[in-house]
Structures are given as structure tokens and as C-alpha cells.
Symmetry: C2
């Protein structure tokens, strides 16, 4: 299946941008053809000399190590253009050439995913919110994708790991080097129930500078990205930025203006991210997207409306006003007579009902009921 | 100055909508002409009989009481169409026919105003925020307009009452009936330093049903409305709704998703209200509006940028990258050479700088610096 050519390509590719190799791969059609064409292609490329040398004489020890790593049945290399390469990720102009994966649930890569990311040092509330949102959404069939960092990432994985939708962790280094170490047990649990994913080959140590690039994969795999708590400098804003660039949904949870961990979320909301108060808000937003793609979640159709205080319609006087109003345009004077209220009372009540989206003000001072938004 | 005609008109006007009288007043040109024309106008109007009777034989006792109330030099009646009637309020299709005012600072009605409104039962944080925002903005020359209610309204008045911009309280009843009673001392302080305003004549008891109508005046007097804390059922959402309808700015302060008093604000933000973290955000948003109207606040020009965590530019490696980047488009490879960093390092750093709005990604993988905002 061209594994030879792919491993040769990957051990040479590290010195030149992913984008270059991706474009070349698309042009050439296969890793084999690309390896054959490489001398000609790299001749026009500034930093191609080293890559060219490594294509001509591949590092046999590295390739041997990779083959050994891949020999376990729960591990594989998923290459760009192959059937298993996730379609949403393939859309990226800087899609990774290949993904190293480990875990029981390779199918999760193709499942509808929501990224949940945020601060490495969240508040207790923030952690709990991440875990609760992840559990709720995973129970309903969304896969929760994150970066295995401490804080929000870890809480999100934990909330989803044994649920219906499961969880995917995208690492910023080789899968044989779990970082942070404190998440070794969580990573093992994710491997057992979900999937560990990396663009970086086994043996590559995680580097701070890899993390922003890793974040594009988290955003790229997902229908949308939810940021739970983040300072203005948080790496999760990079994930959100990628999601925006890729035309995916961005969700952010607001917080107190005195909480520095809300500032990143507020920044995103000002840039157009959807303000989210409850996990159900996300299902409601994603529902049309999922329908367009023919994806049926466990219970998107029955997603509850957002809970709220008792509606106006629980008040008998408002109930009566709505009853006498009906769905055809009616002047206030008529309503006042029908409901036995003064016009001042009726107009105040209509104002509140309009605010709740239950009635519509029409030209000429007339009103009519609106259909209830599910 | 037509006071006779105005008092006659006002004692008759209470049974028919403000909008009717306002349209009639605009057509007739003056209160005198309107009183003369009224029999003909009201003949076509459903509920005109009682109003007509009161125009024909005005309630002398009421008018006498009003005259007595108006005899104090710190009180007046400001009628639609007069020089003192606030221009912004006159724009409303349902502008009040007249305002009863009491206080030392009648000029405040024409000053640039910001409405600050919110819950009657806010959190301690919410009250403090309202008071601090009001103080900060009033110190810089904005007048703070609110509804004298307990909670956010009261805190806003208190923050502004002795400051440069001062404060205006709009009541939902006659100015001789201060409601709530617990704010009697605050109302006296506002009368001494600022202005009390009502559409309702002296002697009219405040009514719950007047408050939504009163809210249109708060919104109508103001360049914008800030909602500090509010449930989804709060009357302050009505004020915000009016502000939106009148094409004024709406600002809302976010809060924890576990705080029911943030839900109204979040609802507004989802409807397009500007998310505000600091009082300075409001000055920054209003600055172009104020400039367009030729209004110079004490220090809009020197409004501080929003405070935030230490900027990336305080980091020497980022400083150096910005230095070698400059304002003309430069390829990453050149930057990598100039800054003595790998292309991977440079591209991660550029990503963060782009996120901060300090550099711009250009076609062909080139970058350039952006001018610092304001």
C-alpha cells in the first residue's frame, strides 16, 4: 500500500513545509510518484537540498523504528488521499501529510467532532463546565476532540472518554512521548476507548513550537471549536482562529469581567464566535450542519430548548392575551376590548411578548402571534 | 409661551395615545392650534369622547396644582417642539409630549447621555460594576441616565451624581411621588446635582405598567444603553430593545453562565449588543459617534486602550521579529534568515502576532506589520 514510499517521504519531509509537500502530492497523485519526481521538484526549492539527500538515501534506522512502532494492531499511519484520512481535515490547504494514530477507535476520525479547548489553569468552575459539556455532547453522539493538555483539554477528554461519541486527543509530538506526563493514565484510557493522533512521527519530542501547528489539526478535524476558559494569550485562541479560517463554527463561554480566564472567550465573541450558555446551545447550532451532511446524532432532533426562567406564558393574564390575539393582525383597541384590559396594559404586555418573540408588531399598530420557536 | 394651552392639552391627553397627539401636534404646529383643532381631529378617533370633554372643560383643579408645582425655580415643563426639548428624544416616533423636570441641571437633558440599567436585585459585583462604570464615564463627561430603581439603576446614579457628567433619573410617575421610597435621599441628591425627569404629571402615582413606557425615554435620551446585570425577564431588556429600535448602541456586560443575572446580558449579546468588559470600551465605541456630533468629552481622545495581560511585544524575541519584519511584505524564509530562527519558529510566532492584530498575512506566504490600532 505504498508504505515504503510514505515512510521515505515522511523522513525527508520534515525540513520543508507541509504545504509544499501537500501540493506536490496532489500534483503527483501518490507518494511513490512524488518520491520519483522529488529531485526535479526540489531543484526549484530553496531549502530542498537536505530533503533531497534524505530522499536519495533514507534514514534506514528511523524507518525501521517506525515500522516496529506500527506493528501493533492498534496503531496505524493514515496517509493523505487514503480512504481513512478524515474528509474534513483533507479540506485544509495545510492538511498534514499523514496522521500517526493509536487506539481502539479509528472510526472516530471520521465521526462528527467538536473541539473543546481552553486554559491549562482553569478555575474549578471552568473545568467542571468543560467536563459536563463534553459528557453531555458525547452522550448525544458528538466526538470530543482536544489536545491532552492539563486543565480544560483534560477535563473535556475525561468527560467524553467512555461516552457514546468518545474522544480524540491530538498531540504535539510523537505518540510514544505522552506530554504532559501527568496525563499518561488519561492517554492510556483514551487509547483504550478513543484515539490518540499526531502529525509527528514516533520519536519526535513534543516542542512548544509544535503546539500552534497541532492546534490546526484539532480545529481541522472538527465541525466547530468551543473555547471554555482562556486568557487573551491562550493557545486555544489559535485553535479558534484556525476554526474561523476554515469556516468552522466557533463557540465561546462567557464569564465574569473580573475573571482573566474569560477575556479570551470575550475576545472571540466580539469577533463573532457564538456565545454559549449550555451544551444544548451547541447541538442546536450544529443541528442544521449535521443534517446537511446526513449525520444523525443520538438525539439532535430531541435536543432540549435552552432552559430559562418561567416563561411569560405561564402568567394567566398573558395566556389570555395570547388567546384573544391569535395569528391574524389585530389592533390594540380590539385586544383591549377582548381581554378587558386598558390599552396601556395591553401595549405593555405586548411589548414584553414581542421581546420574548411570541408576538410581532405590524404596521398600523396591529399585532399578531408568532409560531413558537421549537 | 403657550403654557395654558399645554396644560389644557396634557390634562386631556391621558386617555389617547401619545402617538396620536404627537402626530397631531406636528401637523398643527403648536399646542394652541392643536387645542383649537382638537374637536375636528378627535371626531375621527375611537376613544376621543372623554379627551374632547376634557379639552372643552379642562380640570381647573389639576391645572392649578400643576401651576403651583411649576412655580419653584428648579422645576419646569419642557414641551415637544420647544428649544429645551432634547433633540435625541424628539426623534422618537412616540416621543413624550412634554417632560416634567426638577433639578439644578436642566442642561443635562441636552448633554451626551449613556443609559445604565439592570436588575433591581443585582449581585454585589454587579452593583459595584455599575457604580464604577458610571463614575468613570461621568468623570469623562458622559451623563448617566437611569430609572432610579433599586439595584443597578441606583448604583449608576450614585456613581455619577457628583461627577462631571452628572446623572438624569427618569421616573415612572409624577416627580412629587418618589418611587421607590428607599431612594428618596438619592432623588434629593440627584435634584441637587442633576435632574429628575418624568413624562407623568405631578400627582400621577407610579404604576407598574408605566415602567416599560418610561424605559423608552431612558433609551431615547441616550446615545446608548448599557445593561449591567439582568435576568431574561428584566425590564432593562425592554430599555435595550427600545435602544435597538431607535438605532442607538446597546452594550452588555457578560457574566458566568451559572449567574442567572447574566442571562439577559447574554441574550442581548447574541442579538448583537456589544460585549463590554471595561468602561473604556464604551468610550472607544462612542468616540466616533461623539465626534460626528461635534461633542468633545473631557477625555475621549485620551481614552485608554483596554488593559490586558502583558503584550507579546514585551517578549524580546517577538520584538526582534517585528523589527526585522517591517511594514513591507516579506516572505517567511527571509524573516527566518534575518531573525536567525527556523521557519517553524517564525511561522508560529507570526501566527500569534497575527492573532494579536500586529502583523498581516499576505498572499504568497508573505507577512507585513500592521500599524498599532489607535
Amino acid at each position: 500500500m505504498g508504505l515504503d514510499a510514505w515512510l521515505t517521504l515522511l523522513q525527508a519531509a520534515q525540513q520543508v513545509s507541509t504545504r509544499f509537500w501537500l501540493d506536490a502530492l496532489k500534483r503527483c497523485g501518490s507518494a511513490e510518484a512524488l518520491v520519483a519526481e522529488a529531485p526535479r521538484l526540489l531543484a526549484q526549492h530553496d531549502v530542498g537540498a537536505e530533503a533531497l539527500a534524505r530522499l536519495a538515501s533514507p534514514d534506514a534506522a528511523t524507518i525501521e523504528r517506525w515500522r516496529a512502532w506500527l506493528s501493533r494492531p492498534d496503531r496505524s499511519l493514515i496517509t493523505f488521499g487514503s480512504r481513512d484520512y478524515p474528509a474534513r481535515l483533507a479540506e485544509l490547504r495545510d492538511a498534514p501529510l499523514a496522521l500517526w494514530v493509536e487506539g481502539r477507535e479509528r472510526a472516530l476520525l471520521a465521526s462528527p467532532q467538536l473541539a473543546i479547548v481552553g486554559s491549562r489553569s482553569p478555575t474549578t468552575d471552568g473545568s467542571r463546565t468543560a467536563e459536563e459539556f463534553a459528557r453531555y455532547l458525547s452522550q448525544r453522539g458528538l466526538t470530543i476532540t482536544s489536545g491532552l493538555a492539563t486543565g480544560i483539554d483534560g477535563a473535556s477528554h475525561r468527560g467524553a472518554v467512555t461516552m457514546l461519541g468518545g474522544t480524540v486527543a491530538v498531540l504535539g509530538g510523537g505518540l510514544d512521548v505522552i506530554f504532559p506526563r501527568v496525563h499518561a493514565a488519561l492517554a492510556a484510557e483514551i487509547a483504550a476507548h478513543g484515539l490518540l493522533v499526531s502529525e509527528y512521527a514516533p520519536g519526535v519530542a513534543p516542542q512548544k513550537l509544535f503546539f500552534p501547528q497541532r492546534n490546526r489539526i484539532i480545529a481541522g478535524l472538527s465541525l466547530g471549536t468551543l473555547v471554555v476558559e482562556a486568557t487573551r494569550r491562550s493557545g486555544s485562541l489559535i485553535t479558534a482562529r484556525f476554526a474561523m479560517d476554515y469556516g468552522r463554527e466557533v463557540f465561546a463561554i462567557p464569564g465574569s469581567i473580573h475573571n482573566p480566564l474569560a477575556r479570551g472567550c470575550h475576545h472571540l465573541i466580539r469577533q463573532g464566535a457564538k456565545l454559549v450558555e449550555e451544551a444544548a446551545d451547541i447541538l442546536i447550532e450544529l443541528a442544521p450542519l449535521l443534517r446537511d451532511e446526513g449525520i444523525t446524532l443520538a438525539s439532535v432532533a430531541s435536543a432540549p430548548a435552552t432552559a430559562d426562567e418561567a416563561p411569560l406564558t405561564s402568567d394567566p393574564s398573558y395566556q389570555n392575551l395570547l388567546k384573544v390575539l391569535g395569528f391574524s393582525p389585530t389592533p390594540i383597541a380590539d385586544l383591549s376590548a377582548r381581554a378587558n384590559l386598558t390599552t396601556a396594559e395591553v401595549s405593555s404586555m405586548l411589548l414584553l411578548l414581542e421581546l420574548e418573540g411570541l408576538v410581532e408588531a405590524l404596521p398600523g399598530g396591529r399585532y399578531s402571534r408568532l409560531g413558537k420557536k421549537n
